[in-house]
Symmetry: none
Subunit: 181 residues, 4 copies
């Protein structure tokens, strides 16, 4: 079956938002890219904010799922964290454009989006904290891991365009360094 019109709009919006940013994107850019009429947009979305929200929600949901999955995953800490990281990076790598939007646009849009961003961030931190609870300086280590993870996404994956393998190996090296050994 063909892509539904709504899907076409979502995909076009992802493309355009990631190219020009939220504020520099006009609804006319999105419909132009999708090849539908201006009015069609408003059948599916109340506003530009709404389609942006749906897109952001996609990343948030994916990340949430991974957090949930590994929160209850029983294994050696170091292993769990590495697997968790690998999976997060995999999703973000696969949906780079959406990841770009999430990491580089969400904060600026303000309003509820800022909250969503910090919320996800907090949940990742809580995840690390829980896993590291038996380690000394768990708080500090959690912060370092999350800071480095974000750095990897923003600079190596999105801006630097490094390979997935590189990202993951960097992360694993960092885990080893921080957890000792």
């Amino acid at each position: 079956m063909n892509q539904s019109t709504k899907e076409k709009l979502i995909n076009s919006a992802i493309k355009v938002f990631s190219e020009k940013g939220f504020f520099n994107t006009k609804v006319s850019d999105i419909v132009g890219e999708a090849g539908v009429a201006q009015g069609t947009f408003y059948i599916y979305f109340k506003s530009k904010e709404e389609i942006f929200f749906e897109i952001v929600q996609m990343v948030v949901d994916q990340i949430s799922n991974i957090i949930d999955k590994y929160t209850t995953y029983e294994d050696e800490t170091r292993r769990v964290i590495k697997l968790f990281g690998r999976e997060i990076f995999k999703v973000l790598y696969e949906y780079k454009e959406i990841a770009y939007i999430f990491f580089f646009q969400v904060i600026c849009v303000g309003g509820e989006f800022q909250r969503i961003y910090f919320d996800v961030s907090q949940r990742i931190k809580d995840f690390y904290l829980k896993k590291l609870s038996k380690y000394p300086k768990s708080q500090l280590k959690a912060e370092i891991l999350i800071g480095f993870g974000k750095r990897l996404v923003e600079f190596d994956m999105l801006a630097g365009n490094r390979t997935f393998t590189y990202i993951v190996s960097q992360f694993e090296d960092a885990v080893d360094l921080i957890l000792g050994e």
Copy 2:
């Protein structure tokens, strides 16, 4: 002496940009806050971009100076890095609103601003790299330090409103953890 009109405009712009973000700020907000007429703005700035640029340049200059200062500063690595960090945090702490703009707005505006942002980031990384050149895994350690530093600024200083002392002590702990001991 009184603030010059241009200074008034810059200060108002800093306030408003940091409250509402670049795109949600109207020139009329800036002049309203400054208490001058709409037209006066264009005597001092060619456009909204230009005043934003001047503000961004203020942080960039400060950071650049600190980088330059410590690049040629000869002392034990760990000490240099800690002093460097302390000074960076001090400036950002003092000019929180400008820091907010730099960390949360610059990337979204796009165009040359994105370049400026990554440029500063790169120079800090080069600084760390140079200082850590004798350490094993210097590349990784530099990345971790910079990622954690940014995390401290964004989450603890700007979003979380922690004290300056807290920020600095966290940073120093991280340096010790990462450089060993």
Copy 3:
């Protein structure tokens, strides 16, 4: 038997027009109320104007019939006028929503509708004139009766929601006052 689709549309349109007015009513409101699809509307009506026209025509026809009936009705003037009034009020009372549309919406829509409105008004006036032709100041009395009748409809029946009996008795009192006794 079931209401035909066209009847459903007419009835829904009457409801919605009388609630929101012609201009504030969307075709989507009408079809929504009727429970049919948007496109169905255009099978039965060329445009929003056309369904409005059909509705207006319903009142106009009813009033016309009553005028015709009493124009050739031979009896004492006072009696004829009272009976005529009673019957007009009865129809309007029964179809309050349509009456509302006729009295409060038709003039604003402009175009041919304004003409229709003044046309009906003129015919009622002619009716009164004819019936009162033997009375002194027949012209003035006709005008007073028609002005008062309209007032009764607009303020007491439609806006004020008075009973049918009240309306009629007011009208009869006025007839007596104006024709003497």
Copy 4:
């Protein structure tokens, strides 16, 4: 001094509203008539509703003043009512276009405007009631006078374009007929 821009807009709006009605008037019609740019409209008025409101308020104020003036005016009832009517008609005659808007547009726009319309109507009725309080059937007579007055405005003055003298003499005749003699 020249007409201020706001005055130009008000005058153009009066012209256009009275020609095409509220809903068929576009802001672009008003600014076109006034010879100013589209954006200029929004310096002075928040919306089309707002300029309409200001115009409606002009009639309401004038009528209110006349009501106030004659409410406390002591003289023979018949004389007071005739003078009151004459003055009301004079104002409406002088500002026919605004009167047209008030009598033929206000009801349709809905919302607060409907309330304003019925409010004025009620105050005129109260005025008549007070003046006629010593007369038998004062309620009925008040209603008749107001119904006829409105008829005169709508059909003779606005639609029929009769002279001011004609309107006033009709009204005075009606007063005499209704109050006796």
